[in-house]
Subunit: 586 residues, 2 copies
């Protein structure tokens, strides 16, 4: 299969597009793979479409191989099923809503849980029909507040979403494991470097939940891996190991001390060291002080509206807002403001401690390190005073342990092996055990083996198909352009005739025909009036894995074989096809 | 490739869906190919998706083979380009419009002329880049007033649309011819019976225009073909051959006669025959009378608003509203109502003639048969009076000839060979020479060979991809179910084990494995608890071209090979795979 650059609908750009912040966006636009049609909405030009289809094919092959069945729901959907699960409202501004000519409410599908669940409900009725796993590869729509980075986060994008339906929890475990393995094969075949990270299941509910995160400095997600291996997790999902509780009996009493001007952790530690204050018989450090942050929590499950709470973390750590958000979900929170301090006398700014929250029966959330028996220097709820030797479980009580403190490079890995390293990543896929949330909401009743009605349990699995192309471009490029892996390159070989004489062009024709006959896809730069320099630049920008150049040494029967992103070989013209075939297959 | 009915996400229905009026809709829903999600919006279930993809593949192969390049525009589009061509407004209620979270107007693409034209404008600048033909296979949206017949006329549907861009009119002719040939190959491969019909180019403007109409009694289009071949046309596009003009000199003068009660053609002819009135020396028939219909024409190119006009057709024919509409486009019309007769004294109901329109300088449109020198009996513009021997071109003048009269079975074919037969059809595709309408509206300027700016000319070509599946179902079914052609059947072979013993099931497994190894796609009815009767019914409903049944004679090593819609053969089990392969390839 041969495509000629003299005919291809392509125009490469020398300049970066003004709105492009990340390399994948910059290069995919410059190399003529995609083109912006509206904010977050892209046209797939011929080269881009070829790569997108190849990615889709890999996803389809692996989904089929694991026994999933493909179908295709509409993108234009009626409101009713999304009303049944309350998502018509809950989705908020992210949902594209519209009315048809008769005034009926419709939406552009952002995800299709309701449709899959309804299809199973309508078509299956007996345990004998289960398990079943269904998937689609589909154009989806989300009205992102900040569409960015080209096809990395668009408003119209291609996604593979699948759902497993099982009669038992063990069945769900199996379906989940099958998906996990299929996802590994998919991302391995596409050639992406990634980690499978423990994830929070978030607003979707459910239990086991893992994200496939691709390594990328431009990623929006932060994850950690253990230096010893065996552990990777989204930072939001890292559980801090709780130390063993300490005995309370016989410990010295807490003591209120004047700490003039020590409204910060730094000043407090300085004061303690000047005063020779010991905590559990060692000199006080920031890790012995207690940050007591005041937040307002809004829990949709409670009717009273937002209320105050304290969040305790060791003073040597910062609050990680995203981790706390994940911990408190579905409740949301914000930090208390001036008006909250003004309207509550017991809140003494800079000197807030946990005891007043206990006294006012307001919840105290704490980092797992604030375990029973630990001793702290904390605010005394009086201006310019702190309490020294405040013992958790004796002098104050914790209502609930939460993950609120930042995870730091070098923290011990939760599974006990090695320490954590932080990295940034892009979400490629997410698999999780959704459970019976949707099957219950949509009243799916299946007859079990005993003839009783039972509700099947679901797994939910997604892959960002169009995003995957941007991820590969993020991971594989240099300052000259893209570097595609063989499996998803639009063409495996790029042949350029640098030499302008007719004999070289003729030889080029012969070589591309040979490539094509050997079953390879070839992009042939046959443009007669383009300089060799421009041809080389375009070849590097476009990024096919193998570039064959008929240049100066062609007179001696030698062509240049440039392995994009690797070495350059001199190969006799008559052997280049065999050589590339060998490299493609290896 | 083997799919097991025991696992397939499928439920066949014994009852017709309540809203299904045509066979394709009825059968595709009953056989579990598609399922309604909203009015005019369908889910593609596994079997339906397989057939849809096969049709897409055929379309893609033939488009690629003719040198067209595939790309993919978004379905969610910004308003601006559609504003530039005025189609944001002109599209009316058929367009799905929506606003994004920032209040920007967007639409769901019904056709993509603007996007293709803009892409060429942005990427190409020199005559050397031309010709270029681009296409996409895409989900499109039209908010049909009456979505009907399942996927035959949906609101979300799959279409192949392509555009050719040429620098010269001769180039456009070539691009058009290539598309025409590719379309023939596509519809031939899919196995559809169709005619290529001359079509009007309608509101899109342009010159050459043909529709590919599939024969179907449930079609919305009416077309005619010549009994002698060589001519097919949409009725709207049939040009009535104009007779030669007759000499005016020496013809008797027109004579006004009292025709009491003869306000209808029938009564007028009866009167004429009773009175012995001759027209051109023969007894008067309905064909000698002139129907003079009063219409109100609204022409967007004129500012005065609607005005009255006369439409003259021979009295033996009915008005064909669709033909007159096509003739007058872009003007629209309606028949004059009581209030028009009331407000214009010269309009005498039942006795209107062309002379008063001439006198009032109002346009007279006439059927081409009302050629100069023909003699007519027409209304005298006085109550109960007609004119006899009224000569066209002497006693009244025609301002413009129009196609307004119905086309009848047996009318002479316009190309002079044979007579016309009428048939009903479904539009599969439309190809036409669009010209420079969009390239001019969007200011596409290309440097020609002489270095001057020139505007390329466009061809526009569309195929209803999802509709094609319904068309095949319309043409190929019987009262038991669907009958797919091999090229687009979800599976080529359906193997059913009717015999319930383990040996038969095991033999079934062996046979489907053999089929699969031979490169055939097999649907295997391995359901252990389903009766043979139900299995046969399902096999017929689903419609795979070859059905292999392991039934009673299997004990003697014989299987039944039912050719769906054809004969049933008894074949030794060991030979059935070879036999089916032979049939598939033939």
């Amino acid at each position: 299969m041969i495509t000629r650059l003299s005919e291809l609908f392509l125009r490469t750009l020398r300049e970066d597009p003004a709105d492009a912040e990340v390399p994948s966006h910059r290069l995919l636009v410059r190399a003529g793979y995609v083109r912006r049609a509206a904010p977050g909405v892209y046209t797939w030009l011929p080269l881009g479409l070829r790569t997108l289809r190849k990615i889709e094919t890999i996803v389809r092959e692996e989904m089929d191989a694991m026994g999933a069945q493909e179908l295709l729901f509409p993108a234009l959907l009626p409101r009713e099923p999304y009303e049944a699960t309350n998502r018509w409202t809950e989705y908020g501004d992210d949902l594209f809503r519209l009315k048809d000519r008769k005034g009926a409410d419709m939406l552009l599908g952002p995800t299709h849980e309701e449709m899959f669940t309804t299809a199973v409900k309508n078509m299956f009725s007996s345990y004998k029909d289960f398990p079943v796993t269904l998937y689609q590869i589909q154009t989806k729509y989300r009205d992102e507040a900040r569409p960015r980075a080209g096809i990395l986060r668009g408003r119209e994008f291609v996604m593979k979403d699948s759902y497993s339906f099982d009669m038992t929890d063990e069945g769900l475990d199996e379906s989940y494991a099958k998906h996990r393995a299929a996802y590994q094969r998919i991302f391995d075949r596409v050639g992406i470097r990634y980690e499978i990270c423990k994830a929070t299941s978030g607003a979707m509910g459910g239990s086991a939940s893992e994200e496939f995160l691709a390594y990328s400095d431009n990623g929006e997600d932060t994850f950690v891996v253990s230096t010893a291996g065996g552990f990777a997790a989204n930072v939001e999902a890292v559980i801090t190991p709780a130390p063993d509780p300490l005995p309370i009996e016989g410990r010295p009493e807490a003591e209120v001390r004047d700490t003039p001007g020590a409204a910060t952790i730094e000043a407090l530690v300085e004061w303690a060291n000047e005063q020779g204050v010991l905590v559990d018989a060692h000199a006080a450090t920031a890790a012995d002080t207690l940050k007591c942050m005041v937040i307002k929590v809004d829990d949709p499950r409670e009717e009273d509206g937002p209320r105050l709470a304290a969040v305790l973390i060791p003073g040597d750590r910062e609050l990680d807002v995203k981790r706390l958000e994940a911990s408190l979900e579905p409740a949301t929170f914000e930090l208390a403001g001036e008006e909250d301090f003004a309207s509550h006398d017991f809140l003494v700014k800079g000197y807030v401690g946990p005891r007043s929250f206990n006294a006012h029966e307001l919840p105290v959330y704490a980092d797992p390190r604030v375990v029973e028996g630990t001793a702290w220097i904390a605010g005394a709820d009086e201006p310019e005073r702190h309490v020294v030797g405040l013992i958790a479980g004796r002098d104050f009580t914790v209502d609930r342990f939460v993950e609120a403190a930042e995870i730091r490079e070098g923290d011990p890995a939760p599974h006990g092996n090695g320490t954590l390293t932080r990295a940034r990543g892009i979400e490629l896929g997410h698999i999780f055990q959704l459970g019976r949330k949707y099957t219950e909401a949509m009243d799916v009743q299946i007859l079990d083996e005993g003839g009783k009605r039972a509700v099947p349990t679901m797994g939910s699995y997604g892959i960002g198909v169009s995003r995957m192309m941007a991820v590969v471009a993020e991971q594989r490029h240099d300052d000259k352009g893209l570097i595609w892996p063989v499996e998803i390159a639009p063409y495996q070989v790029h042949v350029a005739v640098a030499n302008k004489d007719a004999a070289a062009l003729e030889a080029g024709e012969r070589i591309v025909t040979e490539f094509s006959n050997a079953g390879l896809e070839v992009l042939f730069d046959d443009r007669p009036k383009v300089s060799p320099g421009v041809k080389f630049k375009d070849a590097e920008l476009l990024g096919m894995p193998f570039i064959v150049i008929l240049g100066r040494s062609f007179a001696d029967g030698i062509v240049e074989l440039r392995i994009r992103g690797g070495e350059t070989l001199e190969v006799p013209a008559g052997e280049v096809v065999a050589k590339v075939r060998e490299l493609v297959n290896s």
